[in-house]
């Protein structure tokens, strides 16, 4: 048998052996390897990392870092705010929120909290700082302009007027 043939059969044997190892070893190794690459889901989807939390009575507001979409992405820059837990929210929320942490409120966010989680949400945002855009009775128009309920939180994304 020629060396090339030996190499071919050896590679084929290794391949069959690798096939046996896929469910027990290779699958897990590759999955962990992929997870260890340090990749993250695009901030337009995830809302970006949380910057700080403001406690407001029985509930809290998580303020995320502003998200700036990439060059040709069809979304505007935005900031995400999470109200949680939903069970502690009053039937009507109208909060002044200091987004940048300078001690001055930047926006007033108002929305109803229906008991039925399937009821569509609507939000109005009144900007007190010209950096933020106004929203009036907005549902879930775009990733950068919406109010949605995700698990035990209500998320509001406010577009930035002057990033």
């Amino acid at each position: 048998m020629k060396p090339r043939e030996k190499l071919g059969y050896t590679a084929a044997g290794v391949t069959v052996f690798a096939a046996l190892l896929v469910p027990f070893l290779l699958f897990g190794v590759f999955t962990k390897g992929f997870a260890a690459l340090g990749l993250h889901v695009d901030d337009v989807y995830s809302g970006g990392p949380k910057a700080r939390t403001v406690q407001t009575g029985a509930y809290s507001i998580d303020i995320h870092r502003p998200v700036f979409p990439h060059l040709l992405q069809s979304e505007k820059p935005f900031v995400q705010l999470d109200w949680r837990p939903v069970s502690a929210l009053p039937p009507y929320v109208s909060d002044l929120v200091d987004i940048d942490g300078d001690g001055q409120p930047d926006i007033r966010v108002s929305f109803d909290v229906p008991r039925d989680p399937k009821t569509p949400l609507r939000v109005s945002v009144e900007p007190l700082n010209k950096r933020y855009e106004a929203m009036r009775n907005v549902g879930k128009e775009k990733f950068s302009r919406l109010i949605v309920r995700v698990d035990d939180a209500i998320l509001v994304r406010v577009p930035l007027a002057h990033p």
Binding site: V16, V22, F30, F34, L39, V41, D42, S46, Q73, R149
Partner: protein
């Protein structure tokens, strides 16, 4: 699946028995998947809050689209979760990418005949008519998947979104789609339905070919690259070939041409389905291990490939078929 493997061994026929499995996989995957999404969220449309929560199920088709954005910015342009727990199936992007890599190392482009849970639908459609009504197909259409791949990879990088999933995936019609919130969403869903009807239903019925796989699928083109790295392939034994071109007509993906037969090889788009091997009356089309002589022990090559490929098929497709059957029993019995 063990019975099918037994029949493969007993009859020395690969394509026929593999097709039973593959068509079952293609037809039962949507059954289990759609039932799952309907129970979980009541609609096949993915609501925006599910995307934000990272609960968009991730299949393997967007893998080539994610590579460039991930390489340049370490960002995955898909609204799913990286680790298990996010997707409908409980698996994350890392699990699917790991599974894809592991299976690709073993079977290369054979993925498209033994693991793809979409290809079986059109293979089933292609097997319905006895004869093809459309026989003359311009061979230049074979380059289209490469063009689609290039366009989708560049668009995904430019727009930072999985462009193929958003605009062109025919299988959105039988799995899930972006919930149509506006006119753009309606157009997207219209494209999915038209592409599915044309490429997966009508054209396979007319041509008896896997037209979506052969002429459109960017993941298939991407997977062709790994045919070069796989140790198994299909060759034409020149000493036995007449050439009658039966294999050329039988190939469901147009991976044989008169020129390639004269060279004694298949094109890189060959999915190792075994149609040419089974149809050849002179046993000139053979399974082959790279580095070995073509006509020497083709059955050994076939056995080694099938052990590996069928192992992958059972692992990946077995649970999907079982889930589909369980769903049917649950709903109708």
């Amino acid at each position: 699946m063990i019975v099918l493997f037994f029949m493969m061994m007993r009859t020395w026929n690969t394509y026929r028995w593999r097709r039973w499995f593959f068509v079952a996989l293609g037809l039962l995957f949507p059954v289990g998947f759609i039932h799952n999404v309907m129970v979980m969220r009541g609609t096949m449309g993915i609501p925006i809050e599910e995307m934000i929560a990272g609960r968009t199920p991730f299949c393997y088709l967007p893998i080539p689209l994610l590579i460039l954005p991930a390489a340049f910015t370490k960002t995955l342009v898909f609204p799913g979760s990286i680790l298990p727990g996010g997707g409908m199936s409980g698996a994350g992007m890392a699990a699917m990418a790991g599974l894809w890599l592991a299976i690709t190392i073993v079977v290369g482009k054979g993925w498209c005949s033994y693991a793809c849970f979409f290809g079986g639908i059109e293979e089933g459609m292609a097997s319905v008519p006895k004869r093809a009504k459309l026989r003359k197909i311009d061979p230049r259409w074979r380059y289209l998947p490469w063009a689609v791949l290039l366009a989708m990879v560049l668009l995904s990088l430019a727009l930072f979104e999985p462009a193929y999933c958003m605009w062109l995936c025919p299988f959105k019609a039988v799995s899930e789609y972006v919930a149509a919130r506006n006119t753009v969403g309606l157009i997207q869903n219209g494209i999915f339905v038209v592409l599915f009807a044309g490429l997966v239903v009508v054209l396979p019925l007319l041509t008896k070919k896997r037209t979506q796989c052969s002429f459109f699928c960017p993941f298939g083109a991407f997977q062709s690259i790994f045919n070069k790295t796989s140790v198994f392939d299909v060759k034409i034994d020149q000493t036995r070939c007449s050439p009658c071109v039966l294999c050329l007509n039988a190939c469901p993906t147009m991976s044989l041409t008169k020129e390639s037969i004269a060279r004694g090889e298949t094109l890189m788009s060959c999915m190792k389905c075994g149609a040419c091997v089974d149809v050849c009356p002179k046993h000139a089309a053979v399974w082959h291990i790279k580095g070995t002589e073509v006509a020497k022990s083709p059955e050994r090559a076939r056995l080694m490939f099938l052990y590996a490929a069928w192992g992958m098929a059972i692992m990946f497709g077995g649970s999907i078929i079982a889930q589909g059957v369980a769903t049917i029993l649950h709903v109708f019995v």
